[in-house]
Amino acid sequence: MNDRVKRWLEDGTVDLFLGYKMIMGHPLPHCFVKEKIEEVNDLIIGPARYSLEKIATHIAAVKPDIKIGLLARDCNQRALNVLYIWNQLNPENVRTVNVNCCPSNLKEHGDCSYLEHEAAGSFKRQVGIDNNLQPENIEGYGQSQRLSRWMYEFQKCIKCYGCRNICPVCFCQECSLEHRELVGTGALPPEIPIFHLVRAVHMAGRCIDCGLCEDACPVDIPLRLLYQKVNEIVSDVFDYKTGTGDSQSPFNILGDTVTLEPKPIQLAKTAN
């Protein structure tokens, strides 16, 4: 792997390579470049996972023609496919080094145990939702149980927007979650369940089941579970599997002809 990356950097296949490097005992994402080629010896796969593809979109937004290489687990690969479809990245400018990945419904086998959750505590099992459950388990609860369990989880929300911020396929310039007519502002917890449902609706046809949202949630809301269900419905109703093909999702939230206009998010951010 390290030799290949070195070769790519040297012969100009890629201008930079996003991977991980151990820095003071912490595996951190790192951008390898030709000028510091010796650093590539320290390239690791990294037990902690960051959204490298999101960093890549930020780089591409600043310099569209740059050739980017990155380490890609299966989830990264699916995210890349979605980003290609929505014109956030140009597939011709991206090279990947594929590495092992985590188990998911969209992939039968995998050996990255990164997203395996610790066992849920007794109180959470009693009134909330165990993060290790599958959508079928939730459907096993009665209707009012389901509502109160989800509401318990949503009530913990501290509105950090981490689920959105970390999401590799969240790139809209304007976010529905920040539309005050849609979701009320200024209160904790936020308006529930609409805050989470609006995001869930947006995840339809987008979510690539990487689980980073749940991982970034300070209060352990089982978001991945919610979006897995969304994926399941999208697959049943629209016959679309996100991140696997090269066509845009048939689901769009506004109407048949209106599509989201994806723009690099940081244009809005840096303009402030």
Binding site: S176, L182, I194, V198, V201, I253, L254, G255
Partner: protein, 68 residues
């Protein structure tokens, strides 16, 4: 507040060309239907975003009807 019978609040998104016409006709024909329904006329039922429906439920609508 004393309530003998629960009167649901229902929000209906009705298509200008279809269901709204029907509602109009029902009104003109003096047909009786429950007064619980508040209708919002939209140009096409496809313009009803899931967000609108979620917002209605969040704001306390007991049911949402989409009439295409």
């Amino acid at each position: 507040m004393k309530e003998d019978r629960f009167e649901p609040k229902i929000l209906a998104f009705v298509c200008n060309w279809c269901a709204y016409g029907a509602a109009d006709l029902a009104g003109v024909s003096r047909m009786q239907y429950p007064p619980n329904v508040r209708a919002i006329r939209v140009m096409c039922s496809a313009t009803v975003s899931p967000h609108h429906i979620l917002r209605a439920l969040q704001d306390g609508a007991d049911g949402v009807l989409v009439g295409g």
